[in-house]
């Protein structure tokens, strides 16, 4: 007796988000109507995209093997960004403005803004910019940065339940997209989206950061949260219908399995974590090692029939 393969069909898509200056290079994510790579069940019009992480100051905490590909630009974020664009074929960059943090030397906010602007001018690629994680510094930095990048339609973050108003208001004024952050919690994810929407911000311009982890550190829980959130979106919950961004590079390269057993294992750790996140529904993956990023891009191309 032939086995009938049950195919699920859903009625609502994930929002489509197009980052970057209109008329210049843009990156489009989202728009899918079913779980990842199940092409018999739904459409996946925009394959997931890899963003290359660009620290705005020397990342002293990166292991040597990870820094090696960037050895000639560790002190120059603009050169670093150009290298990602020209040598590694990046389509989008994620600038991490960590230099303002006291752990990285407390660079003045205006200087941090200037560096990101220089990167934008040098690479002409869509940009994601995240702050240093210190709410006070970030709330000073983001409005200035947002204004400096007006018209570039960047993706800025992170907006959290405790600190979203400044960023939402500034993104609203300057036309940027926003990253809504939640601590591996679908209920809070939904709430942050609502809160940002209550500011008058178009919820179609939100990208969700569900918070992720590395292979070996509870990734299956992250997976289940992302799956539950996505299922609700497909069933019509507009307050969860945003694409996902995950920072895999940052999560992977801090665990001992990736850091302490040679760069090959680290690269494989980053690849494996990324692939799991793709299967969980990630739309935008921020990665660090160019070899790992290249492998994951080939994986996406293979699964999507070479669309990208």
């Amino acid at each position: 007796m032939p086995v009938e393969i049950i195919k699920e069909r859903y009625n609502a898509p994930v929002n489509t988000v197009e980052i970057g200056r209109p008329g210049a290079k843009q990156v489009k994510i989202g728009g899918q109507t079913g779980f990842p790579f199940l092409f018999d069940e739904g459409k996946m019009p925009n394959p997931p995209v890899i963003a290359y992480e660009v620290p705005d100051c020397t990342p002293d905490d990166w292991p040597e093997g990870l820094l090696e590909p960037y050895h000639d630009c560790v002190k120059d974020p603009v050169k670093w960004a150009k290298k990602c664009a020209d040598e590694f074929g990046a389509e989008i960059l994620c600038v991490k403005a960590q230099s303002m943090h006291q752990d990285y030397g407390s660079r003045p906010v205006d200087e941090a803004v200037r560096i990101v602007r220089e990167i934008a001018d040098a690479v002409k690629l869509p940009l994601i910019v995240v702050g240093c994680g210190d709410d006070e510094r970030d709330n000073e930095f983001m409005p200035k940065l947002s204004q400096a990048l007006k018209g570039e339609n960047c993706l800025l973050g992170l907006a959290t339940q405790a600190n979203y108003k400044t960023l939402a208001a500034t993104c609203l004024v300057d036309g940027h997209f926003i990253i809504a952050d939640s601590p591996i919690d679908v209920n809070i994810a939904k709430q942050v989206n609502i809160l940002i929407g209550d500011m008058g911000f178009d919820t179609n311009k939100i990208v969700m950061h569900p918070t992720t982890t590395s292979l070996g550190y509870g990734m299956e829980y992250v997976y289940s949260i992302m799956e539950r959130s996505r299922l609700a979106a497909f069933m019509g919950d507009k307050m969860l219908a945003m694409p996902f961004i995950v920072f895999v590079g940052q999560e992977t390269w801090k665990v001992k399995e990736a850091k302490d057993f040679g760069v090959v294992q680290g690269i494989n750790w980053e690849i494996t974590t990324s692939v799991a996140m793709l299967q969980a529904g990630a739309d935008l993956i921020v990665m660090r090692h160019p070899d790992a990023a290249g492998s994951v891009k080939r994986y996406i191309a293979a699964l999507t029939g070479g669309v990208r």
Binding site: N187, I188, K190, I194, G197, A232, G236, D237, K238, M239
Partner: protein, 263 residues
């Protein structure tokens, strides 16, 4: 759940008057208000005092369709009146309703097939409304079997166990709730279940809203998928949203009422 707004019914004095005097604004406002409050289908009935059912239902449908773009449930006991409306309905209508009587099912299911409409089946027949869940199940199964005969998909069939006023038929409430559970297993995939919610508090002197919203929450817990109700009753809608949340149909967040209304 699927909310069918009940307010455009000639049985209500203001609506009856609006129909008689062709006060289009009254009808259109009622339509818009109900949609805004969360109705996904609007029930349309000319009521018992209409002098010309066919003309009135046609006027109602056309008037409503000028301002809202959602399906309509055509509510009449007469097949020719329903057909008159089905001729001018734009989307997929709902026929409200058929009983389990052979002649009624023949005429109503024929219309459903002809106009690709969905249909509500009342678990009653010429002998009246059953007193027991077993008789309700028997009649609902009869309707479901007839739907299959006419090629009506289970998802397009709404089985109604008929809620009874608590002040005259108190023992019926638990029977109705149990029927909702049982109706879900008549066919696979399951047919929808529906109740005319306001019936349960019909004629009660106090706390009608409380009775309605409590019963709705209980019915939702029994698996109810749709209801004909007053969507402008904000407390009722809040109860519905909360019951869906507690049934794990929606993902919780602190602003869950607002989240539901933003859907």
């Amino acid at each position: 759940m699927i909310i069918i707004g009940e307010l455009i019914n000639g049985m209500y004095k203001d609506v009856g008057r609006a129909i008689a005097n062709r006060e289009i604004d009254v009808i259109q406002h009622l339509a818009q208000d109900q949609v805004k409050a969360g109705a996904s289908i609007l029930d349309v009935s000319v009521g018992p005092y209409s002098r010309n059912h066919k003309d009135d239902i046609k006027w109602l449908v056309e008037s409503i369709q000028k301002v809202v773009d959602i399906p309509l449930a055509i509510d009449s006991t007469m097949a020719d009146v329903i057909e008159e409306a089905l001729k001018v309905v734009k989307g997929r209508a709902v026929i409200n309703s058929t009983s389990a009587d052979e002649d009624k099912m023949a005429s109503m299911f024929s219309l459903a097939k002809k106009y690709n409409a969905r249909i509500i089946g009342l678990a009653m027949d010429k002998t009246g409304i059953p007193n027991s869940k077993d008789k309700r199940l028997e009649l609902a199964a009869k309707i479901a079997a007839k739907a299959v005969e006419y090629g009506i998909a289970a998802g397009d069939l709404y089985l109604d166990p008929i809620a009874m006023p608590v002040n005259v038929a108190q023992a019926q409430a638990p029977e109705v709730l149990e029927s909702i559970r049982e109706f879900r297993i008549i066919c696979t995939p399951p047919a929808n279940t529906i109740i005319g919610l306001s019936n349960v508090s019909q004629g009660t002197k106090a706390c009608r809203g409380l009775i309605n919203r409590t019963f709705l929450a209980m019915a939702l817990a029994s698996g109810l998928t749709s209801a004909i109700l007053d969507p402008l009753d904000r407390d009722l809608m809040d109860s519905m949203i909360t019951a869906e949340l507690l049934m794990n149909k929606q993902i919780y967040c602190d602003s869950f009422l607002e989240a539901y209304r933003k859907r």
